[in-house]
């Protein structure tokens, strides 16, 4: 495990260096904005990574809430399957295809996304059973907030030289992103400072409602006129193929980096819960096994 982590860390480091070199040196300079446009290569991948992490948090939270009752668990599973099938079927209907094309969205993209939903839901439940779902939820939320912070810091640093202002008050993309960040910061504060037995359930409920802001953030520039630039991928936008290639390379590098950070954070949360459990067992006067490596097992000594 440790060796795998080390190898992945080295590969991710190399990929990050190569992607940064491509972004800062090789990518073509944008005609009107100049070099400052290169912020795009880590602003946009950070935003996409944050959205993905919040989506993982959303699915893990739903599963965590649903696992309290077998009937709710079955119902949720079938709802996800129904959404997937309905989305895929709808993308083949001519009126839907026309509507999607006018919005600059490919019907095949909708079909793929819709079909991925139930697959993702089922895999997450299989790979992270029981309490691990809650650990995954807190991990993805915390790392997502870090990436969202990068988005909120790099955005104004791009806006200042291009717009002449740091922030456009009232702009729906900017405001909804800030709200998204605040929702997940609240989620983390709730988990940090509440000691109630219901904390995990409350946090999961907050995460499910908070995740509704993610599509609003993402599609705000598709449906509203904003100060924020219009989409370059989808939404009738266009981008130089060389820029697109470097953008996707940077996203891959950021995804690998986020996976490593999530891996570490996940292990940290497991360790934290084991220490808490050991303290609880000690206070009850029961024997506790404290091994130098994880996992802890009670009553074995």
């Amino acid at each position: 495990m440790k060796r795998g982590f080390l190898i992945l860390s080295v590969l991710t480091g190399l990929l990050l260096v190569y992607a940064s070199y491509q972004a800062l040196e090789v990518a073509p300079t944008e005609r009107t904005m100049g070099d400052v446009q290169r912020i795009f290569y880590y602003h946009v991948p950070s935003a996409w990574t944050a959205f993905l992490l919040f989506f993982i948090n959303f699915v893990a939270s739903i599963q965590y809430l649903a696992r309290t009752k077998p009937s709710a668990q079955t119902a949720t599973k079938w709802i996800f399957i129904a959404i997937g099938v309905a989305g895929a079927v709808a993308s083949f209907l001519p009126p839907v295809q026309q509507q999607l094309t006018s919005l600059g969205m490919r019907p095949s993209a909708l079909a793929t996304t819709a079909l991925m939903l139930p697959v993702f839901y089922l895999l997450l439940g299989k790979w992270f059973p029981g309490e691990k779902l809650d650990i995954l939820a807190v991990t993805s939320a915390e790392v997502g907030v870090v990436f969202c912070t990068v988005v909120l810091v790099t955005g104004p640093l791009w806006a200042r030289p291009v717009w002449g202002i740091w922030w456009a008050p009232g702009d729906i993309r900017l405001t909804s992103t800030l709200v998204l960040w605040l929702i997940y910061v609240s989620y983390l504060l709730l988990r940090r400072f509440s000691n109630s037995a219901q904390t995990q359930m409350l946090a999961a409920a907050l995460a499910v409602s908070g995740a509704l802001d993610v599509p609003l953030v993402y599609f705000s520039i598709w449906f509203f006129r904003t100060q924020h630039p219009q989409p370059v991928i989808g939404g009738n936008g266009s981008i130089d193929p060389r820029m697109l290639h470097i953008l996707l390379l940077n996203w891959l590098a950021f995804l690998c980096f986020a996976s490593l950070v999530c891996w570490s954070r996940f292990r940290l949360e497991v360790l934290k819960r084991e220490v808490e459990e050991a303290y609880a067992m000690e206070s009850l006067g029961e024997p506790v096994a404290v091994a130098p490596s994880m996992p802890l097992k009670r009553g074995t000594r």
Binding site: M33, T154, W158
Partner: protein, 48 residues
Amino acid sequence: MNSIKFLFAAYIATWIIHGTYLGTLVRRFSRLKKELDELGESHRSANQ
């Protein structure tokens, strides 16, 4: 437009944010390891 300084400011800010977060993770890891060691010590001394 002297935009290059904003580009580097954004780049540095990105890695300061990630570095700070990684630093907090390392600190939390070492604190938990220490607590775990202390629990092990107290358990061993109780058994003797």
